[in-house]
Symmetry: C2
Subunit: 332 residues, 2 copies
Amino acid sequence: MNKSINLKQRPVGTPTLSDFDFKEKENELGVAEGEVLLEAKYISVDPYLRGRMSDAKSYVPPFKVGEPISSGIVAEVLESKNENFQKGDFVSGLLEWKEQQVSSGEGLQKVDKSKAPLSAFLGIVGMTGLTAYLGLHEIGKPKKGETLVVSGAAGAVGSVVGQIGKILGLNVIGIAGTDEKIDMLKSEFGFDHGINYKTTEDMKSAIEAAAPNGVDIYFDNVGGPISDAVLFNINQFARIIICGAISVYNKTELPMAVAVQPFLVKNSALMQGFIVRNYADKFPQAIKQLSTWLGEEKLTYKETIVEGFENTPQAFLDMMDGKNKGKMIVKV
Amino acid sequence: MNKSINLKQRPVGTPTLSDFDFKEKENELGVAEGEVLLEAKYISVDPYLRGRMSDAKSYVPPFKVGEPISSGIVAEVLESKNENFQKGDFVSGLLEWKEQQVSSGEGLQKVDKSKAPLSAFLGIVGMTGLTAYLGLHEIGKPKKGETLVVSGAAGAVGSVVGQIGKILGLNVIGIAGTDEKIDMLKSEFGFDHGINYKTTEDMKSAIEAAAPNGVDIYFDNVGGPISDAVLFNINQFARIIICGAISVYNKTELPMAVAVQPFLVKNSALMQGFIVRNYADKFPQAIKQLSTWLGEEKLTYKETIVEGFENTPQAFLDMMDGKNKGKMIVKV
C-alpha cells in the first residue's frame, strides 16, 4: 500500500490536522520509459507551504484541494528507466507527499551522501542554504562592518543567514521567541546579539541598543510588529530582504502594519521580495561556497527531525508554531 | 529692505500660516571675494519641504526654527565677485527664501533663458523633470508594453512621469483627486486612464479594470490607502518607486497601512525610496534627454504660478492641499 497526504480543504487562519487527509492506494506504480520510481526518505516542511495552501493569486500555483501537497524531498531511486539515474541513487527535488512516486526525472538533482548527511540536502546545502546565501548576497549586498538584523533567527534560514553574516564580518543581531533560542543564536551560531521578542517590551529600543550605528541589512522572515520595530532603526541605503512573513500567513483579516513608505523614502532604502527559485543560475556557485564553509566548519546547522511519514502534517503545524530549532524535517 | 521667510515653529499635523514668519532687514549685503549677490525670481514649493519642517531623523537636516526655509530657486545675479558668474546671469540652486541673498556660488547652475522659460528650470528641466526621469528609469526600469501606475499624477512630478511612460510605450494610469485633473491627465498629458480617488469607492477594482494585465511599475507620490489599493494589482517582479508620501506627511499618529511584505514576497517585487540627489552623476544625461523631448514637443508641462514673495507660505499650503495643477511656483 502507498500512502499520500493531501490537502483536504483550504485552511482558514491557523491550519489544523483536519485540513489534511491521507489516501492509501494499492502500490501499482508503473515506470514508463524515461521515468524513475522514487521512495521518499526525508521531507522538508517550510513556512512558504502555508501560502500555497491558500487560493490567493500567488507566484506559485496554489495546491489543489484533494491532491497531494508537495515540498522539498530527498528520495531513493528504486527503479530507473531514465539514463540519468540508477537504482540506489539519492535525489532531491520538489516532490509530492507520497511514500512512493513516479517522476520524469525533470528538476531532480542527484545528491552525494558521502559529502553531507541526506537531510542536509534539504537544508544547509539545499534550499535553506541557497535561500540564506542568495537572499543575503543578491538583495542584501553585505559590506564588512555593516549591521545585519535577522528575524526568525533560530529558524532554518535565519540561523544560516546569521552565520554567513559573521563570516562576512557583519555585526549580527538575531530576533527569536524563546530564551533558549536566544542562547543558541549566540553560543552555537555566533550571533553578536539576540533579542527575545516575546519578553521584550520595547523592541524599537532593544534593536537600537544592539545596533548603535543603525541597521544596514534586515533579513525578514516574519513581518508584523517585529519588522515595524526594525524600520525605525534603518540607515540610509538600507536593504530589506523580504524572505517570508510567517507572522501573517495565518491571518484571515488583511494585516495592517506601520506604513513603510515614509521610512523607505527618507532613507533611500530598498525592500524586495526574495524567492530563491528566481536565482537558479546562481545555485551551483552558492552550493559550492556553502559546501566549502561546511567542510571548513565555518557553518553549522540544526535540525529538528520528526520520524514517520504520517507525522508530516503535525511537523508542519509545529514548525508554523515555532517549535522547531533550525530546519524541520520529517524522516520517512 | 530685504525680506526673508522663516520657520517660526515646527508644524504639528497640517501646517498653517502661523508656522511661518517674515523678517525684514535693512539691505546691507556685502559681497566678498568669490561671492555673488542674488535676487530671487522664482521659488519652488514642494511636498518634501514638509518633511524638513519636522525634527525627525531624516536624510536631510531639518530646517532650523527661526531661520529661513530653503528650496529650489531661480535667481538673477545682481553683483558678482566670482569668476564663474556675471551680473545679469540667471542661476538655479537650493537657496533660502529671501528676496536677496549672498552665495558662494557653490551648487549654483547657470540657466539659459533662451532654451526654456526661467520657471521651467525649477520644473521640467530642473528637479521635477530629473525626479520623474531618474526615478522611473533607475528604479522602475521600464520596458515597452508594461503597465505604469502614477499617484499624485496631476502634480509636478506625476504629470512628467506619465508622459515619459507614454514616450516609452507603456500603458499609463494616473490617479488624482478631481475630475478636472483626470480630464487633464488624458487630454493634455496623454495618460491612457485616469482614476479619481475621491469619487471612486473601490480603488482596487478600478485599478484592476484599468490594468487588466496587472501593474508592473508604480510611481508612488502619495502613500496611504491609494498605495494599498495598487499593491493588490502588482505583477511578479513589479517595481515600486517611493518618491513621496504626501498623504502621511501631516499625520501626527504613526500611519498604518496594509502590510506590504506579503505582497512583495509573493510577487518577488521591489519597493525603493527615491531621492533625486543620490543620482547627481546622471543629471547631465537626463537634462539633455528632457530638453530634447521638450524641444520635440513630446513633453509638456503645467505650472500654477502664484505672484508675490510674501505669498510663498500660502502657495506651499495650497500645494500640500492639492490646489495646484502641475508645478507650483512663486513668482517673486
